[in-house]
Structure formats: structure tokens, C-alpha cells
Symmetry: C2
């Protein structure tokens, strides 16, 4: 049974709990099963924050921590820490403005925060990242992710998040057009 | 390091994902760390649904599936299935109207659904159960749980849920007054 393991990590306040909920909802909209683990702490603003998702076409009975297919790291600390959990052929995606010490393995370095500012709000870097991950991995359909946004985000915040998603998708497609073997591998890994 | 493992299980539509979020938020309000795992599926209405929480005074780095300190089972299937994960001295709490085949171990059988109807809506059985669990285990403070409700539940649904919480707390206190060894054990287990 194929399972797709994704970790979305960064600082508290970067919206990684919400990003996990959105991606989980998108996968359910796709007809898939999801287990979502989110860590909360009293230092929710500023401390480490992560969401771990297991996505599968079949019901997920046991949540066994396994190595990651995809790691999104929106800050240096989470990149340094969780890179060890990534599979050898895993996909590492970092925010280029936040992760300044480049990791020693092949990765995508993407200006999520800058793209979010372009979309109208720096705080939507989480949703920009979801758009890019979606295009690079094919793990959920664009329509399912768009639906998840409208289901889970408050009406008044929806337009800026929809714009952020579009920015992320656009950037992902640009990278896709420069597809290398690494990317091609991930297309075949998609459920 | 002491960790408290709780599983809230039942059918899709019984609000166990929300119950997990509320309990996680209450624990954070208490100054504790929480890891919350929720399982979502395309059959969200009707299929099995569960939230697993690990609550600790210290940051939770690794989520290792461990045996349960507390199992709340709101339907027969989840009782039959997850009872195997309960510690020997674990606390089993079932809904008396939904779990009709009494489990073969010591447990609390509580009419959560009936109490929810009394509070004004059968769908608040999840919140009634949280109130009772809170009193029986002492895992979070009442004020933290009340705050979590106002933070996480929509304004228009808040009054009925607050009433449900009060029903659950009241029932828990009644049981507490008939405290047996089992209950006393759990008081000492609280973080």
C-alpha cells in the first residue's frame, strides 16, 4: 500500500497547522484518506510548529512514523532538524528568504514569503507553498485544494488566500517546465 | 517524562475531530504541549473517526503510538476495536446508548447523547463527553476548556455547546462523588 508522507514545518505563526488542515481537506475532497498530526505548544507564536500528513488511497489504521517523502521547511531550524527524517530520494522544499544556510542535498529553494507579499499578505506564505507542493508532487488535484480553501478559510480572508494559491501554482509550473530527474521521480510517486 | 494518551473515537459526524481540537486547545491554554492526530476519510459522515492526543508538560518531539490512558468510545465499533490499545489500568468511557454490548472490563457507561439532548442538541454529545473526561481525569482545567470553546466554536453555536459542557461537568462530578479506586488512580495520573 502506497503512502505519501509529508511534513510542513516552520515557526509558530507561519500557518503550518492551517496548511495541514487545508491539505488534509484537499486530499479528502480527492477521495483519499488522511491522517494529520499537528503539534501545538504554549509558544505557538515563535516556537517550532509542524504538521505531519500521511495520505493514502486506503484507510490508514496505524500511524507509524516513517521517513518523509516531502519536507517543506519555512525556517532554518526546521530544515536542520527534519532533514534527517527525509528519504534519500525525498523532496526538500525550503523558503529561500528564511533558510539561508543552504542544505547539503538537492532541493528547491523558493521565495514563498516574497510571492506571498506579491499576493497581498506575507502571512499567506503557507498557502503559496501548498500551491507549489501541489504542482510539484501531484498529490492532490488543484480543484480539491481550491475547494478546501473555500471550506476552511473565513470568507473575508478567502480572496487573498486564493491569490496566494495562484502564485504558488504559477511558480510550481515554472519549476515544472525546468523539470529535472528529481521532479520526474515525484510525479511517478504521486498516488 | 509523563505523557497522557487519549483517544476520542466514534462515527464520522459525532464531532470527534472538533473534540480533539478543543481538548488540544484547552491543554495549550493550560500551558501544556499537545500532539493531535486526526484521521479523515471520504466517509467522514458515518465511517469510523478518531482523534488521538498526547498531552505533556514538555515539548513532544516524537509521536510514538503508545497504549492509551483514556479511551472515549461513542460507538460500538470503536469500543470493540480500540479497547485493545487501552493500558491495563486505562480508563474506558462509553456512550451508554450507542455501545450496547458492554465491554468486559471496568468502565464508565454514560448517557452522553441523552445529556446532549437535555442541553439542547444531540450533536453536542462530543462536548458533553469532554466535560466529563475533564472532571474524571483532571487533565485540563475547566477554565481552559471553557476558553477553548469560545476560541474554537462559532459564535452562534457557542451557547448550546457551553450548556453541553456544563451537563458533562455536572455528570462527571456526580460520578466523582461515587469515586472508586479506578477514579482515584486517574486523579493521580493527571499531569
Amino acid at each position: 500500500m502506497k503512502r505519501f508522507n509529508i511534513c510542513l514545518a516552520g515557526s509558530g505563526g507561519q500557518g503550518l497547522i492551517l496548511a495541514g488542515v487545508l491539505l488534509a481537506q484537499a486530499a479528502v475532497n480527492d477521495g483519499k484518506y488522511v491522517s494529520l498530526t499537528s503539534s501545538y505548544g504554549p509558544e505557538a507564536r515563535g516556537g517550532a510548529s509542524r504538521s505531519n500528513l500521511v495520505i493514502s488511497k486506503k484507510p490508514i489504521d496505524y500511524i507509524i512514523p516513517k521517513s518523509l517523502d516531502v519536507l517543506l521547511a519555512l525556517n532554518q531550524e526546521s530544515c536542520d532538524k527534519f532533514i534527517l527524517e527525509l528519504k534519500d530520494e525525498g523532496l526538500l522544499i525550503i523558503d529561500s528568504s528564511q533558510v539561508t544556510h543552504q542544505p547539503p542535498i538537492k532541493h528547491y529553494s523558493i521565495p514563498f514569503t516574497d510571492l506571498a507579499v506579491k499576493a497581498g499578505a506575507a502571512v499567506t506564505a503557507n498557502v503559496v507553498a501548498l500551491g507549489t507542493i501541489m504542482v510539484l508532487t501531484g498529490i492532490v488535484k488543484a480543484s480539491s485544494l481550491e475547494l478546501a480553501l473555500s471550506e476552511r478559510i473565513k470568507q473575508e480572508l478567502l480572496p487573498v488566500n486564493q491569490k496566494a494559491l495562484k502564485q504558488g501554482i504559477k511558480h510550481g509550473r515554472k519549476l515544472k517546465n525546468n523539470a529535472d530527474e528529481h521532479y520526474t521521480y515525484y510525479q511517478s510517486l504521486a498516488l
